[in-house]
C-alpha cells in the first residue's frame, strides 16, 4: 500500500456489550485501514462483528456498548473521542452509510423528495454560511442525485412514497440519500443482498462506477463472498470479533492463509458443482470466548500454542496479513 496517510485507520478497537449474560467481548483488537479511492470489504458470517465495527465508525453504537480500547482516525481526528456535535458534522457529509434493508430504512410516511430535501437542507444548515435555503436549488440537487443513481423519471419519483417504488428503486433512493451530502467515505451494509441477482448486479456495478468517477472510498460490509470479490480491492475477513486475514481481493480468492477463510470459501457452492461440507461447530460465545485464538475450537489445524497465546495479525507475505500461529507468527502472551 502507499505511504500516504490512510483516510480511515482503525487501531486496536475493542468493544464490549453489556448483556444479561455478562460482559460480551464482541470486538477484540480490530485493525482496519481504508485509503483514498479504495474499496474495502469486511466479510464474515452473522455475529462476527462486522456491523458493530461499521456502527462504531459512525458513533452509532447501541447504549449498552462500551468502547474499551483503540482509536478510529479519520482525516487526523479520532472519531471515538470527538464530541457528539462534531460527529454530526461528519455523519452524512463526510462519512455516509447505506443501510441494509431498502424496505425498512426509508420513512414510509414521507415522499422520496421530502426525505432527500431533509438531508440537503440539514447539510446546508451545517455549512451555515450558505444561509438562504433556495428551494429551487435544493430541488435541482435532489434531481441531480436521483439522475446520478439512474432513477428513471426523477421528477415523478420525488413525489412518490417508498411503497410506490420497487425494491431496486428503493435501494437506489437509499444510495442517493447517502451520496447527496458528497461524502468521502461510504459505508455500505449488505448492499443489494436483499434484492434479486439481476438487480443486485446492476446496483453494484453502478456504485462501482460512482466510486471510480467520484474518487470515493467505500467500506462494504457483506456476508456474500461473491459480492466482495466483485466490488472490492482489499478484503478483511472477520471472525469472532477479530480480523482473521487481510489480503488483496484478487489473491484471497485464489489462496487463503487463515483456516477460517479456507473453511468459509470451501463452503460456498460452486458453479463447477463442488460444495464443501461447512465448518464444524459454531461462533464463539462472546461472554466466555476461547482464551487465545477464537477460532481454535473449530480449527482443523489447531496446535497446542493455539489455546495458550493469542495470534497477532502479522504480515505473512507482502500485502497479506494473517492472525494464525500456523503461519509461524510471533505471538503475544496471555
Amino acid at each position: 500500500m502507499s505511504l500516504m496517510e490512510p483516510l480511515l485507520a482503525i487501531q486496536d478497537l475493542g468493544i464490549h456489550m453489556l448483556t444479561y449474560e455478562g460482559r460480551a467481548r464482541v470486538i477484540n483488537g480490530v485493525r482496519l485501514t481504508i485509503h483514498k479511492g479504495e474499496t474495502v470489504a469486511l466479510v464474515g458470517e452473522t455475529g462476527c462483528g462486522k456491523s458493530i465495527t461499521a456502527k462504531a465508525i459512525l458513533g452509532l453504537l447501541p447504549p449498552n456498548a462500551e468502547t474499551v480500547s483503540g482509536s478510529i482516525m479519520f482525516k487526523g481526528r479520532d472519531l471515538l473521542r470527538l464530541p457528539e456535535e462534531d460527529l454530526h458534522g461528519i455523519r452524512g457529509s463526510q462519512i455516509a452509510m447505506i443501510f441494509q434493508d431498502p424496505s425498512t430504512a426509508l420513512n414510509p410516511v414521507f415522499t422520496v423528495g421530502e426525505q432527500l430535501t431533509d438531508v440537503v437542507l440539514w447539510q446546508g444548515a451545517r455549512r451555515a454560511t450558505r444561509g438562504r435555503r433556495v428551494t429551487g436549488a435544493v430541488r435541482q440537487r435532489c434531481l441531480e442525485i436521483l439522475r446520478l443513481v439512474r432513477i428513471p423519471d426523477p421528477e415523478g419519483t420525488l413525489g412518490r412514497y417508498p411503497v410506490e417504488l420497487s425494491g431496486g428503486m428503493r435501494q437506489r433512493v437509499l444510495i442517493a440519500l447517502a451520496l447527496v451530502g458528497r461524502p468521502e467515505l461510504l459505508i455500505a451494509d449488505e448492499l443489494g443482498t436483499a434484492l434479486d441477482v439481476s438487480v443486485q448486479d446492476q446496483i453494484l456495478l453502478e456504485v462501482r462506477e460512482l466510486v471510480r468517477t467520484g474518487g470515493l472510498s467505500v467500506l462494504y460490509i457483506t456476508h456474500n463472498l461473491g459480492v466482495a470479490r466483485l466490488v472490492s480491492d482489499r478484503i478483511y475477513v472477520m471472525y469472532g470479533g477479530e480480523i482473521a486475514e487481510v489480503a488483496p481481493a484478487a489473491e484471497v480468492f485464489r489462496r487463503q492463509l487463515h483456516p477460517y477463510s479456507q473453511g468459509l470459501l470451501a463452503a460456498v457452492p460452486r458453479l463447477t458443482g463442488r460444495m464443501g461440507e461447512g465448518i464444524e461447530g459454531r461462533i464463539p460465545d462472546y461472554v466466555n470466548p476461547p482464551p487465545a485464538c477464537r477460532f481454535e475450537p473449530r480449527c482443523p489445524f489447531r496446535m497446542e500454542i493455539c489455546s495458550l497465546n493469542r495470534p497477532l495479525l502479522l504480515e505473512a507475505e507482502p500485502g497479506r496479513w494473517v492472525a494464525c500461529h500456523f503461519h509461524g507468527s510471533r505471538e503475544e502472551s496471555g
Binding site: 434479486d196 439481476s198 456476508h223 461473491g226 473453511g263 458453479l271
Partner: protein, 353 residues
C-alpha cells in the same frame, strides 16, 4: 411418468375494488405451467421474486386451489379431491419454509413441534410418537436428549432449520418442497444443511422441489432446473445442460450476473449481460413474450406473439421466438450442429447490443 406432475396449472388472483368487490383485474401469478418431477429426483425452480415460484409450489401441494389445470401425485389427481380425501395424500407431501425463526412456534418445545404432524394425522400412541421424535432428531443430527425440550429461541439458525426438516419428515413423506431452505443461513451452515438434505434424499428416496434464487446453490442440489419469469417457465433443462448451454436470453442474463468466488467459475458463466429494469408486476404482464421489454435479443414481433416452450436439445426446452420454428427459427438440425445453428441468432444479438 413422474411422481409429481403439473399440467397447464394456472393461478390467478383477482384484484377487486370498491364496496362490491368489483373485479378490476388479476394477478397472473402462475400462468400455464407443465412440470414433471421424477421419483427420487430434485427439481429446482429459479427466478426473481414475483416470478411465481412459491405460488406454484403452493398449488402443487394444494395449499392453494389452482384457477385451472391439474396436479397429480403418484398418479392421483389431487386437484380433484375434497379435503377429506386429501388428508392421506397430504401426509406424503411436506414443505420446509424459508425462515425457521418464523416457521417454528416459539411457545412450543422442539419435541412438541416435531410431534404435531403426528398428532394431527393421529399416528401412533404417545409412547410411539415420543420414540419417533427421538428417531427424527437423530436423523437430522441433533442429539435428541439435548434438544427435545428446548424452545426454538435457544437454538441457532442451522439447528432450527434441522428441527423444521425433522418436522417435515415426521410423517415419512415421499415429496418435500424446500422453499429457499438455506437463504436465512450463513454459508458454512448452509453447506451442512445441504449435506444433510442430500443424505436424507439418498437414504429415504425423497423427491424434492427446491425453490431458490441462488443459482450456485441450485447447481449443486438440483437434477433438473426450471427457470421462471412472470408465471411462466421460460427454460427447463438438466442442470449441467442449463449451465453449459443456456438458450433463453433471460437465462443467459441471469447466469451472467452470478457473483462467483473463483476464476474457474467466472470462466463458466456467459459474458456479462446487464439486464435493464426490473421484473414487471404480474398484474400488468407485457404483451407478447412477457420478457420482451427487458430483452437484449428482442426482434421484430416479440411484443406481439407469445412463444411456446419448444424443444431446443435433449430434455431441454426454451420459450423464445428465436427457437420457435413456428416463427421461422431454424429449430434443431441434429445433435452435432448446435453451434452452427446458433450462429445466425447470436450475430443478430451482437447487433442489438
Amino acid at each position: 411418468m413422474g411422481l409429481v406432475e403439473a399440467e397447464a396449472v394456472v393461478k390467478h388472483f383477482p384484484i377487486t375494488e370498491g364496496l362490491l368487490r368489483r373485479r378490476v383485474g388479476e394477478v397472473r401469478a402462475v400462468d400455464g405451467i407443465n412440470l414433471s418431477i421424477k421419483e427420487g429426483a430434485t427439481l429446482a425452480l429459479v427466478g426473481e421474486s414475483g416470478s411465481g415460484k412459491t405460488t406454484l409450489a403452493r398449488v402443487i401441494l394444494r395449499l392453494l386451489p389452482p384457477t385451472s389445470g391439474r396436479v397429480t401425485f403418484d398418479g392421483c389427481e389431487i386437484t380433484a379431491l375434497d379435503d377429506g380425501a386429501l388428508r392421506p395424500v397430504r401426509q406424503k407431501m411436506q414443505i420446509v419454509f424459508q425462515n425457521p425463526a418464523s416457521s417454528l412456534n416459539p411457545r412450543r418445545r422442539v419435541s412438541e413441534i416435531i410431534e404435531e404432524p403426528l398428532l394431527i394425522h393421529r399416528v401412533g400412541t404417545s409412547g410411539e410418537r415420543r420414540r419417533r421424535v427421538g428417531e427424527l432428531l437423530e436423523r437430522v443430527e441433533l442429539p435428541s436428549r439435548d434438544f427435545m425440550f428446548r424452545y426454538p429461541h435457544a437454538l441457532s439458525g442451522g439447528q432450527r432449520q434441522r428441527v423444521a426438516i425433522a418436522r417435515a419428515l415426521a410423517l415419512s413423506p415421499r415429496f418435500i418442497v424446500l422453499d429457499e431452505p438455506t437463504s436465512a443461513l450463513d454459508v458454512s451452515v448452509q453447506a451442512k444443511i445441504i449435506t444433510l438434505l442430500r443424505r436424507l434424499q439418498r437414504d429415504m428416496g425423497l423427491t424434492y422441489l427446491v425453490i431458490s434464487h441462488d443459482l450456485s446453490l441450485v447447481r449443486n442440489v438440483a437434477d433438473v432446473i426450471a427457470v421462471m419469469y412472470l408465471g411462466k417457465v421460460v427454460e427447463t433443462a438438466p442442470v449441467a445442460t442449463l449451465f453449459s448451454d443456456p438458450k433463453h436470453p433471460y437465462t443467459r442474463a441471469l447466469l451472467s450476473t452470478i457473483p462467483t468466488v473463483s476464476d474457474e467459475e467466472s470462466a463458466l458463466i456467459p459474458e456479462k449481460i446487464a439486464l435493464g429494469g426490473e421484473i414487471p408486476s404480474p398484474a400488468h404482464v407485457p404483451s407478447g413474450c412477457s420478457f420482451h421489454p427487458r430483452c437484449y435479443a428482442r426482434i421484430e414481433g416479440c411484443d406481439r406473439v407469445t412463444p411456446e416452450l419448444v424443444p431446443v436439445g435433449q430434455d431441454h426446452h426454451a420459450r423464445c421466438i428465436l427457437y420457435d420454428r413456428a416463427f421461422g427459427a431454424p429449430g434443431l438440425r441434429g445433435s452435432g450442429s448446435r453451434r452452427e445453428e446458433e450462429r445466425p441468432w447470436s450475430s443478430r444479438w451482437a447487433l442489438r447490443r
